[in-house]
Each structure stands twice: as structure tokens, then as C-alpha cells.
Point group: C2
Chain length 167, copies 2
DNA sequence: ACCTGAACACCGTTCAAGT
DNA sequence: ACCTGAACACCGTTCAAGT
């Protein structure tokens, strides 16, 4: 039997193993051994499945409680989220699309907002997060595959963060 | 007769009028009244057509020459690029994909780099640019259609820029 | 050099019909 | 309540064949 939860879990597995292009309704249906049309009883459309996948992705996120140093908190959380976008294949592209269309991923903003001094900073970090992840998609793919080119991507992101938050 | 230039021009018109989803090889071919396969003589694949489109988009860009105030230059150019991403439908999504896959849009980085004090700042602004544009896709669509909600998007971007560049 | 036609292997979504 | 089968209207890419 199919639950909404199992659905997004299978979607995430497909994403990790074969990339976003292979997360199709037909492919997911095949994984469950049901007809494609069966999925539409559990989920409105493909976009809402993608939304559920992002929500799932951000669920098991080990967020530390706020301390009295918001700068450190902010950097820590931003790096945590960035790492999450890094370590799953095509997670950046997926999250960008879901956030853009507003079909999920609200937790991402909440995690930042909780330790952010103001809305402008939250916005800037969100933009930096998805922009940087998107632009470094290729290098990230290599990084995720193990074979790699020093932690350039992570370092660059950290530097951009410092520039933004100042001291 | 079909030139690579005409190809991307038609692609951009399709983009502006119907959105990225409607920029398909088959749709472009129909516009030229040729078979789909004909396009593959002029262009390697779809991704390279999209790359050509972004290059075209960034060609007619009225970039002011550098002054002795790099902060002002940087802000001016970033806002110019942001406006460009704003005023064509789905231009943000298109540019993001093209930059991510490295199939075009190199001029964008050059425009920033020419007045940027260092690579870190260039990277950060590029990320901010495409991240902010992507995240505000919906609001941007409304903004492009005339009907709208104050210049919120532009203001927010400007604030993020200020935060990044400091004073 | 440039284009056609046909094929291949896919898509997302809907909807009557079944149990 | 949950699923099937079939259809609709699409995709990108390749490739032999034509002019």
C-alpha cells in the first residue's frame, strides 16, 4: 500500500541514485508496481510530490538550539543546509524549483529565520544558499561522488557568508 | 534559411510570449516551418540552444564604463543584470540552468568581475543574483505582467546587495 | 550543405471503469 | 477507498534518405 510518506521516500531514493531527470511519475509508479494513474490518488500532481520530497529532505536535519551568538548560529545553520544541498544529487535544483513555486520547503526559511537578526539577512542567506548551490551544481556532483577537487565549494560559500554577515 | 542567431532570437521570443516550458525543439521548428530534425544541423542539442539564448539576452546590455567608485559600479551593474532577469519571463530559471551546466552566459560573470574588488565578492554577487531571481520567480512574473505589488523584489535585492558590499 | 520522415524511447495528466 | 487501462497531447534525439 502507498502512503504519501513512502511516495516521497521513494522519490528521494530515485533522486539520489539516478538524478532529478529520472524522478518521473512513471518511474515512481514502476517502483511501486502500480499504474501511473494510481499516484494521482495520493498526490495532486508531480510538483506536489517534489514538494513532499523537499520537506522530507529537510526533516532529518540536526539543527542545534540557538545560543547567545547569533552570528555563529547563523553560519552554522547555513552551512548545515548547504551541506544538505551538497550531499544529495540534484538536491539544489530540486529545492530551488520547489521554493520558487512555493510547493514546499518552508522549513528551510524557518531554520534560518530563527537565528537571523532581520528579514533582510534571512532573504540574503536564502538567496545565497540556493544561488551558490545552483551555480556549483557540477562541482557538487563530483564532490558527492567522492572523487574530488579539494573543498573549494564549501570554502567559497563560507567566504560569501562571512562577507554577508560581517563581524 | 536558418542561422544560429535567428534560432536563439526565435527562442527568446517564445520564452517571452509563452514561458520556458514552451521553448521546445518541436515548437521552435514549427516557428521556422521545418522538421524538428533540421534544427540539429544548426545546434548540437537543446541545451546549447538555451545557452545561445542566454548569450543573446546578455548582448544588448547597456553597461556603463567603470568609474573610480567600485561600490557604485558594482551595485549599478548588479541591478542592471537583475533587471534583465526580471523583465523577461522565466529568464531567471533559464539563466540559472545555463550557468549551472556551463553552456553559456559567461558575459554575466565578466560584467561583475570587471568592477569587483575580488573573486569572493564576484562569486557572492553571482549567487545572490541568480538565487534571488530564482526565489522571487512568482512575484517577478506578476511584476513583468504590469499588475503589481510595489517594487518589493527590487528593494529586497538592493538591501541584500548593500549588506554584502557594506560601506 | 541543408533538410525530411519516420522511428525510438520517453513524458504528465485525465477519466471511465473496475473491485 | 484505491487502483487499472487506455487515451491525449506532448517531449529530445538519431539516422537513413533525399536534393
Amino acid at each position: 500500500m502507498i502512503t504519501r510518506d513512502e511516495l516521497s521516500r521513494v522519490g528521494l531514493r530515485l533522486l539520489a541514485d539516478h538524478g532529478l531527470a529520472d524522478v518521473s511519475m512513471r518511474r515512481v509508479a514502476k517502483e511501486f508496481d502500480v499504474a501511473v494513474s494510481a499516484l494521482y490518488w495520493h498526490v495532486k500532481d508531480k510538483q506536489s510530490l517534489l514538494g513532499a520530497m523537499v520537506d522530507q529532505l529537510l526533516t532529518d536535519l540536526n539543527v542545534a538550539p540557538p545560543t547567545d551568538n547569533w552570528r555563529a548560529d547563523l553560519i552554522g545553520r547555513a552551512e548545515l543546509l548547504y551541506a544538505k544541498l551538497l550531499d544529495t544529487r540534484d538536491a539544489a535544483e530540486l529545492t530551488a524549483s520547489v521554493l520558487a513555486l512555493g510547493t514546499g520547503g518552508t522549513r528551510m526559511r524557518e531554520v534560518i529565520d530563527e537565528v537571523s537578526p532581520n528579514t533582510v539577512t534571512t532573504d540574503a542567506i536564502m538567496s545565497l544558499l540556493i544561488g551558490h548551490a545552483t551555480l556549483n551544481q557540477q562541482r557538487m556532483q563530483a564532490q558527492a561522488l567522492g572523487i574530488d577537487v579539494a573543498p573549494t565549494t564549501t570554502t567559497t560559500f563560507r567566504q560569501a557568508l562571512d562577507l554577508l554577515i560581517g563581524d
